[in-house]
């Protein structure tokens, strides 16, 4: 295992060293590339003047707010559709008509309705996050052990308690898988909206660095965005394993 993880580091390290040597040897002058050492220095600089931290806060705020709203909406509809087959069939055409709209196409609508800022970004992120949660939680509710539902009926639980005490706990591992997927999407959509148009957060930071012809800072932002994406993913995978162990695996890959 340790030998394997050492081998995994060989390629990235070799690429970095080769790039550094090449950039130094040719005295690289470029608007799009910078040697790794300068990228690291730019990253430290951006940390020192707190600009990258403020941008991270703005991006994560929009991403998480959108994720929370989108998950709540998706979960509500997903559970409702999972419980009631009638409702699911009646809403099928409506859902299938709205779902394929690429989230980013809503950008101009959100722009004229809400203007620049957090609100329009949150709306677009929320729209993108609804679908994975809706579809996976609907499937999760449908696959609940039928005997559990019989118990609920025998106990004459009112609908609200049935959802709260039986359905959500039983479907939770798979709902968390959907949440993990949506969290990745939320970050991607937030950064994309910022790059496309919204003057806010990490996406705007990287665009600004590009326009200011600072390739070192631009690539530093790119690295940092990658680190955040990676850390978020690891965090959620660890949380999933801790909270649900193997239970969540049954929902993966479907």
């Amino acid at each position: 295992m340790r030998a394997n993880s050492a081998k995994a580091l060989v390629l990235p390290l070799a690429v970095l060293v080769a790039f550094e040597v090449w950039a130094r040897a040719t005295h690289l002058q470029s608007d799009s590339l910078a040697p790794p050492s300068e990228i690291v220095m730019a990253l430290f600089g951006a940390f020192a003047d707190l600009s990258i931290l403020a941008a991270t806060r703005d991006t994560l705020f929009s991403a998480f707010a959108g994720l929370a709203i989108g998950t709540a909406i998706g979960l509500a509809f997903g559970i409702a559709f999972g419980i009631s087959d009638t409702l699911d069939r009646l809403m099928e055409v409506t859902v299938e008509a709205i779902r394929p709209i690429p989230s980013i196409a809503l950008l101009p609508i959100a722009l004229i309705a809400l203007g620049f800022g957090h609100r329009m970004e949150i709306v677009i992120v929320a729209f993108a996050c609804v679908w994975p949660v809706l579809i996976l939680s609907r499937a999760a509710v449908r696959s609940i052990e039928p005997r559990l539902m019989e118990v609920a009926r025998a106990l004459r639980l009112p609908p609200a308690q049935r959802v709260w005490k039986i359905i959500i706990p039983a479907a939770l591992p798979r709902i968390f898988v959907a949440f993990r997927l949506s969290a990745g999407i939320a970050l991607i959509v937030a950064v994309t909206v910022e790059i496309a148009i919204n003057p806010l957060g990490l996406g705007a930071g990287i665009m600004l660095a590009q326009q200011a012809l600072r390739p070192d800072l631009m690539l530093a932002y790119l690295v940092w965005i990658g680190v955040i994406g990676y850390a978020l993913n690891i965090l959620l995978v660890v949380a999933q394993n801790r909270l649900f162990g193997r239970a969540a695996l049954s929902g993966d890959g479907q």
Binding site: N4, A8, P100, P102, I104, I112, A113, T192, I195, I206
Partner: protein
């Protein structure tokens, strides 16, 4: 389709029509300013007007072109690179972890780098779309190659097949469900990145159309563009499902 299914379908369409009617009502009563929300009648009229004047056709063609070229380039490169990495266990231990590390990177973050290198051009858009769409395909190919039934490789060894023959005759067919699933995911990515690149670089396409309409507060044209983008997403994903079904028919028969 049996009768019950048809009745459900009709009912489902009726519900959707009901929502459109509510949308019309909201627009007619001006509950939301018509600057932001045109009624479905105005959006439909804008769609028809755009089509009859040919404007929307050319924008639609532009978006489809960006999407198709980027996606095809990503498919070819993704399967090729995935096959090279996936068919060698040494490559898998050395290269695959780096790819896994790069995967959660929001691909749109590569856009500024591409702009710095290639400018606001068609080439930039193609590079970005292909770069974004390659990941699901490449990772699916590596995964598919790694998950090939080991006994098939043993058969290949005892038949003394060359590496190329193993790839084309054993690994690719057996990994094809994974690869096609990856290609389907990439289709969505390609559409989204096409729209983003058109918005940023002002390239001819629906993304640019919706942004211009928004800037000029022509909300009916804007909605027409968004509806068309939704349709594009729907039609391409249905087409991909049909192709998947066709191409994998031999596997379904086997099981």
């Amino acid at each position: 389709m049996n009768r019950a299914a048809i009745i459900w379908r009709v009912a489902s369409f009726a519900v959707a029509a009901g929502f459109v009617a509510i949308w019309q009502l909201i627009a007619n009563l001006k509950l939301v300013s018509p600057v932001f929300l045109p009624g479905p009648d105005r959006a439909w009229a804008a769609l028809m007007r755009g089509f009859s004047s040919g404007d929307l056709w050319s924008k639609l063609a532009g978006t489809l072109e960006h999407m198709a070229y980027g996606w095809l380039a990503a498919s070819i490169a993704g399967i090729a690179i995935g096959a090279i990495i996936g068919s060698s266990s040494r490559m898998r231990t050395y290269v695959a972890p780096s790819l896994e590390f790069l995967r959660p990177l929001p691909v749109s973050a590569i856009i500024p780098v591409a702009i710095a290198m290639l400018g606001l051009t068609q080439a930039m858009a193609l590079f970005v779309i292909a770069f974004g769409a390659i990941w699901p395909i490449m990772l699916a190919t590596i995964h598919g190659f790694a998950a090939v039934e080991p006994r098939l490789y043993e058969v290949a060894r005892s038949l003394q097949m060359s590496r190329l023959a193993v790839i084309f005759k054993i690994a690719l067919p057996s990994a094809s469900p994974d690869i096609l699933a990856g290609m389907r995911l990439s289709l969505t990515v390609a559409l989204i990145l096409s729209v983003v690149c058109e918005i940023l670089a002002g390239l001819d396409g629906l993304g640019h159309w919706v942004l211009l309409s928004a800037r000029a507060f022509r909300s009916a044209d804007l909605f027409a563009g968004v509806i068309l983008l939704g349709l594009t997403g729907y039609v391409t994903s249905v087409a991909m499902s049909l192709a998947e079904h066709r191409l994998l028919a031999w596997q379904a028969a086997q099981r």
